[in-house]
């Protein structure tokens, strides 16, 4: 007997593996999806036409239930009618008396198998439903009580549930049936006793999670009694998971009953059951495969249909799933977006924007890193997402480049593309990324790999999630030496400890054997830095390395980064949304907005000769004196969704300087002074306006 395990089978929806970085995902406009469309008969029909497997399953289930109800009228023969002249006849044997042919053949006593299956449905379905009603009532009641009242009762119930779920069901059932003897109701009760813990466990955990919600606490506050809270507030909210579970359990119970029948401990009356019919065929398996094959096939198809129906039930009880199944996209059902997506022509104009002098390929010594007209686009259900839209910049050895931008400005995708960690089939890349003159985008992953970590390294925003929880930090650092330099375990470990020491992690030798979760946030980021710097890279990319940390720790990490940068002379690309960090760290600053560079220059230029309205807005939004970590959110309006970037200058909906031209013409990045440029039609005016 196979223990059905619906939970693990369909429990979790697999996350979309292709989903790009969270910060890129379009925010839903109207909060939850509340489509305006109605459920119509036509939509249901079309839904079933798309999902014809579910339709077949439901039809089959309908037929089985009809058989169970009206077996006497549907079956061509009586299930017990023997015909010794027609023993073990194969399928499609015509009847002797010219009656209905024996569609599925006959058994050893000449009984019509098809008719027996129709009658067998009665036991299977009724027993399955009865047992599930019993176990469901028992399990749901106990689960609710345990989860709601907690305490002793809950402890005891949980213990019993754990024990019973961990015990072989068949052995349990056989033992009880041995004691009680076989029989219809005995089987019902025994199977219910075997399966109630499944509901109790699910309902208990649901109750626990609902118990703390405002609506239950509110009900308690206004003086609802427990009975009312449980029946009126808790139970209705759990109904759909319980129903889906119960449906799956019907299938499991039918399988269980057939197993018991097969072993001769099921229903005793001489009504046919599917399990007994399989057992009847055992002796004739050499000469009459059909006697065994069809009853088993019926059990299989019934269980399969129930499972498919339960999966469908799960889909349509979920609001979003229901609309998807009905073929109504919640996004499409909304009012059309106010801002149109850039058309192909528009993109073409973007491309046509002339690159300024500093991005021209240079003769002689190429820079460490040069990004040229990089574009990254993702196809999402909501349309094409333009994450990076033609940016160019260079990084020289020893330079500290800070890329500033709000979330959704494309700054992270930009550097992840350098590292090749953007999921590449869903992302469309164009442009070039030169490392010492070689275009990395033309490299295969295998060609790029030797550079990653050793020449170009990266540290990530949240060190807790960026470190693997299942390996010690020493192992994770040592891996760099083993993979790239082929060092032995011992040597690599020694090097790793040395690196941790250099990053001022106290008692490094001992801590190397600890796991990431045993470290504080700041220490974890030091581990990340140790790992990134292990092989002395020429470029270190740090993506918001302190965002997840405390303010005091932030300063320490920045100090460490600056020190190691000076010490090693590597280039540093620092991604941040914090102007304070930029001031502290940058030689060069790049400001990004909607996947484009809006202003670029030395930190002094940006500060003293601000040449872009966006930069200006950012600077005025920094809280003075009291707190230097001003966040880039204090500008009126929201950053554009990258699926719907405005025409012309992407900043125009939020720009106080905007003129009509800004809505139609893309401002190119124009030089302001020698090493300072801005992508604004009116930067001269902005410069003067102080």
């Amino acid at each position: 007997m196979t223990a059905p395990n619906g939970e693990s089978l369909h429990g979790k929806q697999n996350p979309d593996p292709a989903a790009p970085n969270d910060e890129l995902l379009p925010q839903p406009v109207g909060g939850t999806a509340a489509p305006l469309a109605k459920v119509t008969l036509g939509r249901i029909m079309r839904g079933f036409r798309r999902d014809n497997i579910t339709l077949l399953a439901l039809i089959f289930l309908f037929l089985v239930v009809m058989s169970a109800l009206f077996a006497e009228f549907l079956a061509p023969y009586s299930p017990t009618q023997q015909n010794l002249r027609l023993r073990l006849m194969p399928p499609f044997t015509p009847a002797v008396e010219g009656g209905f042919p024996h569609l599925l053949g006959t058994d050893a006593l000449g009984r019509d198998i098809f008719s027996r299956l129709i009658h067998g449905a009665r036991i299977s379905i009724s027993l399955g439903v009865a047992s599930v009603l019993l176990s469901g009532t028992l399990g749901v009641t106990l689960g609710l009580l345990g989860g709601y009242y907690r305490g002793r009762l809950d402890d005891f119930l949980s213990r019993v549930v754990d024990v019973q779920i961990g015990f072989p069901v068949l052995l349990f059932a056989l033992f009880l049936l041995f004691v009680t003897g076989p029989g219809y109701w005995n089987v019902v009760v025994v199977l219910a006793l075997a399966r109630w813990p499944v509901y109790a466990r699910v309902v208990r955990s649901l109750t626990l999670s609902y118990r703390e919600t405002p609506f239950v606490e509110g009900a308690r506050a206004i003086g609802c009694d427990d009975r009312r809270i449980i029946l009126k507030h808790l139970l209705p909210n759990m109904l759909s998971p319980i129903l889906v579970l119960a449906t799956l359990e019907v299938s499991g119970t039918i399988l269980g009953e057939s197993g018991l029948s097969f072993l001769g401990l099921g229903v005793t009356a001489d009504t046919p059951t599917w399990g007994k019919d399989v057992a009847n065929g055992r002796e004739y398996l050499r000469i009459g495969w059909w006697v065994i094959a069809f009853p088993g096939l019926t059990i299989f198809l019934t269980a399969l249909s129930i499972n498919l129906a339960a999966m469908w039930g799960r889909t349509i009880t979920d609001p979003l799933g229901r609309w998807q199944w009905l073929g109504v996209s919640p996004v499409l059902a909304k009012a059309p977006p106010a801002i149109a997506a850039p058309s192909r022509e528009n993109v073409a104009t973007l491309t046509a924007a002339p690159a300024d002098a500093s991005t021209q390929p240079r003769a002689g010594n190429p820079p460490v890193l040069e990004v040229k007209d990089l574009r990254v686009e993702f196809d999402t259900p909501a349309g094409v997402l333009y994450a990076v839209n033609g940016i160019s910049y260079t990084v020289e050895a020893g330079q500290r480049l800070v890329i500033l931008g709000e979330s959704g400005s494309g700054k992270t995708v930009n550097v992840e593309t350098i590292m090749g960690v953007v999921p590449s089939p869903p992302a469309r890349l164009s442009g070039a990324i030169y490392y010492r003159g070689d275009n990395l985008l033309t490299y295969s992953p295998g060609q790029r790999r030797p550079l990653l970590g050793s020449k170009i390294a990266m540290i990530f925003q949240d060190p807790l999630t960026a470190l693997n929880p299942a390996f010690t930090v020493g192992e994770q650092i040592a891996e760099m030496f083993r993979v790239h330099q082929g060092l032995s375990h011992g040597q690599a470990k020694k090097q790793a400890i040395e690196m941790m020491d250099r990053m001022r992690i106290p008692s490094a030798a001992r801590r190397a054997n600890d796991y990431p979760h045993q470290f504080s946030g700041g220490m974890r980021q030091r581990v990340m830095i140790a790992m990134a710097l292990a092989l002395g890279p020429e470029v270190l990319i740090a993506d918001e390395p302190t965002t997840a940390l405390d303010v005091t720790i932030q300063a320490q990490i920045m100090k460490l980064l600056r020190e190691v940068q000076t010490e090693t002379g590597m280039a540093l690309i620092l991604i941040t949304h914090d102007f304070g960090v930029a001031v502290e760290m940058a030689d060069q600053v790049l400001l990004m907005y909607a996947g484009k560079i809006v202003e670029r220059g030395s930190i002094q230029d940006i500060f003293r000769q601000t040449a872009h309205p966006y930069t200006k807005a950012l600077l005025t939004s920094i809280p003075r004196a009291d707190h230097k970590g001003g966040r880039l959110t204090a500008i009126a309006g929201a950053p554009p969704r990258l699926t719907h970037i405005p025409f012309g200058c992407p900043f125009h909906p939020r720009c106080p300087y905007a003129i009509p031209r800004c809505e139609s013409e893309v401002p190119p990045l124009r030089p302001v002074s020698a090493n300072h440029s801005s992508a604004c039609h009116l930067f001269e005016e902005v410069l003067l306006d102080r």
Binding site: G11, F262, A303, E416, L452, F471
Partner: protein
């Protein structure tokens, strides 16, 4: 905060002790249940002597067996004997039941070990391949296997395998057992195939889900940025984390194998404990059944202990969190 090694030890010890305590609770609960239910079934003396035996003999035997003692005295005696492995004499064979059961264990262990040893690695492989290539053949195979595993009854699968593989094609013996070891392998193939369908489906599906979840974790990005090959990124970094739920499930797999062997041994005439159970049921041999229930419980408890320990080993976080 860093935990000192001594503290680590203490936490681990507390964890182990807690599990052991739970195990003892389970054993005691099952023993009590067996005792209570066993006494409900009718007069054991009558069961032993048969319906035709004279009443005087039955009364004498009742006295001899201590069935007239107060119930808690009987219960105490039952517990003491059970702990010593003494569940009485088989009505059917007339030998101590524990001997009967122990004699059958190697055959069952052989079958279960083969099934477990092939199911889990196979399922993990399928699940990982399915997760790495969504929409591929392996991905679809995982869905089909997991549905089939839940919907196909094992006794039917076993019989169909016999009909087509053994009878029609004549490739393998229909049933029987020639011993534990290499020579026994051909006889074990069909039973093992029957046993593992469900577990493979379930474990593959879970591994697939867990793997997909892990592939989307930030540390996978880190591993790629470190310049590791995809083999290391997925097969080392992601897999070790994805195995955590899989290990929990392998406990369930062992338990569902214990279900499976009852049917499979019955059909394939495999002389293990599952077959013994069916024989004992047919002969109404209560002591043997009680012994089987108890030994199965012991095995279940051991399996769970091993799973918990492995889990604690592979998932460093649990050593601290659950303490």
């Amino acid at each position: 905060m860093p935990a000192a090694p001594a503290q680590k030890e203490a936490n681990l010890r507390r964890y182990v002790l807690k599990r052991l305590f739970q195990a003892i609770f389970v054993l005691l609960a099952v023993l009590s249940l067996v005792f209570i239910i066993g006494r409900q079934i009718g007069d054991p003396a009558r069961l032993i002597l048969g319906l035709e035996a004279p009443e005087a003999d039955v009364v004498a035997l009742r006295e001899e067996m201590g069935l007239n003692d107060p119930i808690f005295v009987q219960y105490g005696r039952f517990l003491v004997r059970a702990v010593q492995g003494d569940f009485g004499t088989s009505y059917w064979q007339g030998v101590p039941t524990i001997e009967l059961v122990l004699e059958r264990i190697p055959a069952t262990l052989f079958l279960s070990a083969l099934a477990f040893g092939s199911a889990v690695p196979l399922a993990i492989l399928i699940g990982v391949l399915a997760a790495v290539r969504p929409g591929s053949f392996m991905d679809r195979l995982t869905t089909v296997l997991s549905l089939a595993g839940v919907c196909i009854v094992d006794f039917w699968l076993a019989l169909m395998l016999i009909i087509f593989v053994s009878v029609r094609l004549g490739w393998l013996p229909t049933s029987g057992f020639v011993g534990v070891g290499l020579a026994g392998l051909p006889f074990a193939i069909l039973p093992v195939a029957t046993l593992i369908l469900g577990p493979v489906g379930r474990v593959a599906q879970l591994t697939r889900i867990a793997m997909i979840e892990e592939i989307n974790q930030a540390y996978v990005k880190t591993a790629r940025a470190k310049g590791l090959s995809e083999y290391l990124v997925l097969g080392k970094h992601a897999l070790k984390n994805a195995l955590i739920p899989t290990i929990t499930l392998s406990g369930d797999v062992l338990i569902s194998l214990m279900n499976g062997v009852i049917i499979v041994e019955f059909i394939f005439a495999w002389p293990g404990v599952g077959q013994l159970l069916m024989q004992a049921i047919q002969r109404r041999d209560l002591p043997t059944i009680e012994t089987l229930v108890f030994t199965t419980t012991v095995m279940v408890v051991c399996v769970n202990l091993v799973v918990d320990m492995t889990y604690a080993y592979i998932n460093p976080r649990i050593r601290y969190d659950s303490a």
